[in-house]
């Protein structure tokens, strides 16, 4: 590898390239992750006790998690809700991605893509804040439903998970639409036409032609959406209530309210493991590799 770099760029540039890459991967990715994992297997100690007799590897921090029914329940709820968000986002995004890739003219598609990007250049906090206004107890949604006579008294949307789910689908839609769009776009339109000519209905054409072809896109979109949903802090913090806490909020509390970084590191590692498991499962189920995801 060094030879190839040197031959193309010369020694000084090759050294610069290797150093920058090395600093990044070692000091900014690998070592911090390793340190976090190491932290999670140590008890929380005073600075004076570090390196002393009490500074041993232990599973205490993980035992704390598995013995805490509330935290366990929140962890499971985070998984289930994130899967739900991922599924909902997929359903909402698919027709749009199909339209952009196969129905729209190039001009229409470019316009739609631009329209799609605009809300996503505004940060997640503000996107979520917009829903906070809509869902407020005396907000426009309740007023509208009251005016239509569909409800008798305002609903507290911000109590419970409804607000969180809607807010997350809204916040992460783009991460599903783009991979789907890229995947469907590469499908030869003649295949769809052929299926139609041979008598396949719309449902069947999608089930047998479009969806199998879009698999890598579906996998990528699902992985990104799940990861963002499970790791989200802003949406549950703004649209949730104390009764609908997210696992990230528990992690945050260990760090900045409980002051137990080792315990927090253990919880963070559990979240990381969850995401790795999800990515692996999806890549197996859809039979895609890492290269497909990076597209």
């Amino acid at each position: 590898m060094w030879q190839q770099l040197r031959r193309r760029f010369g020694v000084p540039l090759a050294v610069a390239i290797i150093s920058l890459l090395g600093i990044w991967l070692i000091a900014m990715v690998l070592l911090p992750q390793w340190q976090m994992i190491d932290y999670s297997f140590h008890p929380s100690l005073l600075p004076s006790e570090r390196g002393g007799v009490k500074d041993v590897w232990s599973l205490t921090n993980y035992a704390t998690f598995f013995h805490n029914d509330i935290h366990l329940a929140i962890f499971l709820k985070t998984i289930w809700s994130s899967v739900l968000v991922t599924g909902l986002t997929l359903i909402v995004s698919y027709p749009l991605a199909y339209y952009l890739a196969k129905v729209a003219t190039p001009g229409q598609a470019a316009l739609c893509l631009l329209l799609l990007i605009i809300p996503f250049w505004i940060n997640e906090i503000l996107r979520t804040f917009a829903w906070y206004i809509i869902f407020a107890f005396k907000g426009p949604l309740n007023e509208l439903l009251l005016a239509l006579g569909w409800i008798d008294r305002p609903i507290r949307f911000l109590n419970g998970d409804t607000g969180v789910l809607v807010g997350m689908v809204y916040a992460y839609i783009l991460f599903m639409v783009f991979p789907l769009y890229n995947a469907i776009e590469s499908l030869d339109t003649n295949q769809i036409r052929a299926a139609r000519d041979l008598g396949a209905g719309w449902g069947r054409t999608h089930r047998r032609i479009v969806i199998p072809h879009a698999k890598p896109g579906i996998a990528t979109g699902c992985i990104m959406t799940f990861m963002l949903a499970a790791g989200s802090y802003a949406v549950p913090a703004l649209l949730g209530s104390p009764g609908s806490r997210w696992f990230t909020q528990i992690i945050y509390n260990w760090f900045f309210e409980g002051g137990d970084w080792n315990q927090g590191a253990a919880y963070a590692f559990l979240l990381l493991v969850l995401c790795i498991v999800f990515v692996t499962v999806i890549m197996r189920v859809f039979k895609v590799g890492l290269g497909d995801i990076a597209k």
Binding site: W121, E124, Y252
Partner: protein, 266 residues
Amino acid sequence: MSSSRFFSWALKAYLLVFFVYLFLPLVIMAAATFNESRFPTITPWTGTTLQWFSALWADSGMWSSLVNSLMVAVGVLCLALPIGIASALFLTTVDGRGKSFIYALILSPLLTPGVIIGISTLIFWRGWGLNGGIALTVIAQSAFIAAYVMLMVAARLQRFDRTLEQAALDLGASQWQVFRRVLLPYLKPAILSAAVLAFLQSLENYNTTLFVAGYDTTLTIYIASKVRTGLTPAVNALALLMILFTVGLAMIYEFKRRREAASRPG
């Protein structure tokens, strides 16, 4: 034929609903800026006012957090751009054993939840005496933004014609000159778009920054704390300004892209 017509009609209706869903929240948020009500809402409309813009202007916390955000974003550009470009050069030059492992490592920050990147950076650098603040935020954000830069630069590098390099070398250029005069000019558009993306990603980041910002509150953290405590429509005024800023940027970007596409032969 009728089923096909039904589907195309349904698709159009769906599109309409989708874009209303996409933009209505932003419109409502923007509209609430002009409502006199002390709490940001559009129902009931208590009177039209511009007072929330002056309230925003007078908010010193907002200004200092904006300055922090800009400093972080500039720092991220200085760190993530060189790293991302170097990684792209690395990946498009070498092959052989170990490359796919390094490739997986490079992509891993994109598949790691932002909170984890923040937490691991916080823990690691505490061991070196560096606590939460602007410097740590720059490091933590660059850890994953560099991967985006790499993807964008690598996409353009893959279409690069290596014979150009060979020609320059044959004509007596040094390797440094080839890099400086041939490769970098070719990569310039990709580096510029990557810089814009990195800048925006840095400005809007919340999950990672939350853990590493320390007392150097950034704009997103400031907005989030405002939403939870002491919420007034001044936040909406800020949101409206940010929307206008992004729409403006998006339009410039789109305009440039179209002009470039038009000037490209074929």
